[in-house]
């Protein structure tokens, strides 16, 4: 029966050319030489004696020690990446598709078919009576015109009261229109992931910024909002546009107010 002979400590620590082996240098660099070959033999002593006089082995020992230190510095961070589950890295969705929802084609088609089936007879009747309706409308037009003229010329339709009522009604209509316009979602709005960010003029004056697009407007009518209303010419807005939507760091308002002009 033959067995593979275990290398002696001399064979493990020294290469055939007499220099220290990779095992010896690594274990010395890690402080594990005594553990590796034991204190009882003379091999460790011989290895360290060789180190004293061999420049090449001493340089390789320095390399091994530096590698060991660097690995100790870097391996924990790398291990976090290596051992992290691959599922954490979800595929990136293109920017344009993040807020786009699929069109419910089936639902629209079903609703259309249902509407046509249920309202079809009524539409056919309406088409049949369309000519008579138009004729009746034309016949009633002079009467309706005279009625409107009479209403305008009525005593309560003239004078300062009537003028005030017209102005107030016009203002109400304008405000309702503005309200409807502001309620309409826009790209970069809060509903679509936009964020409020203070503009250059003050902490109370904010601008809505969403995905690199300068949009929205200030709720309060500061100087910055007025400039933006004329085309978004605030310094911060221009810088953001130049830098592709990345705003520069801000200073607290107390410091900004005290800054000396440069």
């Amino acid at each position: 029966m033959t067995t593979t002979p275990q290398p002696s400590p001399d064979q493990a620590l020294f290469e055939p050319d007499g220099h220290l082996s990779e095992i010896a240098l690594t274990s010395i660099a890690d402080g594990e030489l005594a553990e590796l070959v034991g204190d009882a033999t003379k091999a460790p002593s011989m290895a360290l004696t060789h180190l004293e006089r061999c420049e090449r082995c001493s340089h390789r020992l320095g390399e091994a020690a530096l590698l060991s230190m660097t690995a100790t510095d870097l391996v924990p961070a790398g291990a976090a990446f290596a051992l992290a589950p691959a599922a954490e890295e979800a595929p990136r969705v293109p920017e344009g598709q993040k807020t786009r929802r699929p069109v419910p084609v089936a639902a629209i088609a079903a609703a259309t078919v249902t509407a046509v089936l249920t309202a079809g007879p009524s539409l056919i009747d309406a088409m049949r009576g369309l000519h008579a309706t138009i004729t009746e409308g034309i016949a009633m037009a002079p009467f309706l015109g005279r009625l409107m003229l009479a209403l305008v010329r009525a005593p309560w339709g003239q004078g300062p009261v009537a003028l005030a009522a017209k102005v107030v009604s016009a203002l109400v209509l304008v405000m309702i229109g503005l309200r409807v316009a502001r309620a309409t979602p826009r790209p970069g709005s809060l509903q679509e992931g936009g964020v409020w960010e203070e503009c250059e003029d003050g902490w109370s004056d904010r601008v809505l910024v969403g995905s690199g697009r300068l949009g929205g407007g200030a709720r309060r009518g500061g100087a910055g909002s007025r400039r933006r209303a004329r085309g978004g010419t605030t310094r911060r807005g221009l810088e953001r546009r130049r830098s592709g939507g990345v705003a520069r760091p801000r200073q607290p308002p107390s410091r900004r107010g005290r800054e000396a002009p440069r």
């Binding site: 180190l51 001493s58 530096l66 230190m69 790398g78």
Partner: protein
């Protein structure tokens, strides 16, 4: 420990340490520090790129041992001595290397211009990240992670046990069922792989001076 098996080295280190004042640490601490003299000197010589008997290497080695002895009180209980002292050695040697470059700017610039094959040691001696490297820290960690994943499973296990959990050769060998020499070989080659990954991560000329 190592000092029990290093007659000449220990004598050299012990003589050097004995010449230093001893504001902190006991006799055992001084002996352990003296036992690290060969490794400290090798690290300093490697960083400086000089022979071990160069005066700058001797000065730096002396400075490392002096700082270790004077700062013995800063070593926390249970903290291993070897990495701490070798960290001081790396710091002192890198400082000396920078100082030499400042004192010899023409030589340094000529060396930088003419050095087409930058050694991996230049990338490893100073682990503190430069400003540009801080931004690339995640990328570097990812590359190190990829290099670790590229290792064979037992070799990666040995690397993690030694460098993350601080397990010694003997316990790693017992756990993985291999001789301790194999553990040493795995660690050495695994570190080389990491160094190669690190060298690929950093462009050669975009380094600090």
């Amino acid at each position: 420990m190592l000092q029990t098996v290093m007659p000449r080295s220990e004598r050299g280190g012990a003589a050097l340490v004995a010449s230093l004042p001893a504001p902190g640490g006991g006799v055992g601490f001084r002996q352990q520090t003296a036992a690290l003299h060969p490794v400290v000197r090798a690290v300093v010589a490697c960083v400086l790129g000089e022979r071990t008997d160069h005066p700058d290497v001797e000065d730096c080695t002396h400075e490392v041992l002096r700082r270790a002895l004077e700062g013995a009180s800063r070593l926390r209980a249970g903290e291993p001595l070897r990495p701490w002292v070798l960290g001081i050695a790396r710091h002192v040697a890198v400082d000396a290397r920078r100082r030499r470059r400042r004192e010899r700017p023409m030589d340094a610039s000529a060396a930088v211009d003419g050095d087409e094959s930058e050694s991996w040691i230049d990338r490893l001696v100073d682990p503190s990240p430069a400003p540009d490297e801080r931004a690339a820290g995640a990328e570097r960690a990812r590359r190190i992670g990829a290099a670790l994943e590229g290792l064979a499973a037992p070799q990666r296990e040995a690397m993690l046990l030694f460098h993350v959990e601080g397990v010694g050769y003997q316990r790693i060998a017992e756990k993985l069922g291999v001789p301790m020499g194999t553990v040493a070989t795995w660690l050495s080659r695994g570190r080389r792989s990491l160094a190669d990954a690190l060298a690929e991560a950093a462009p050669p000329k975009a380094r600090r001076p």
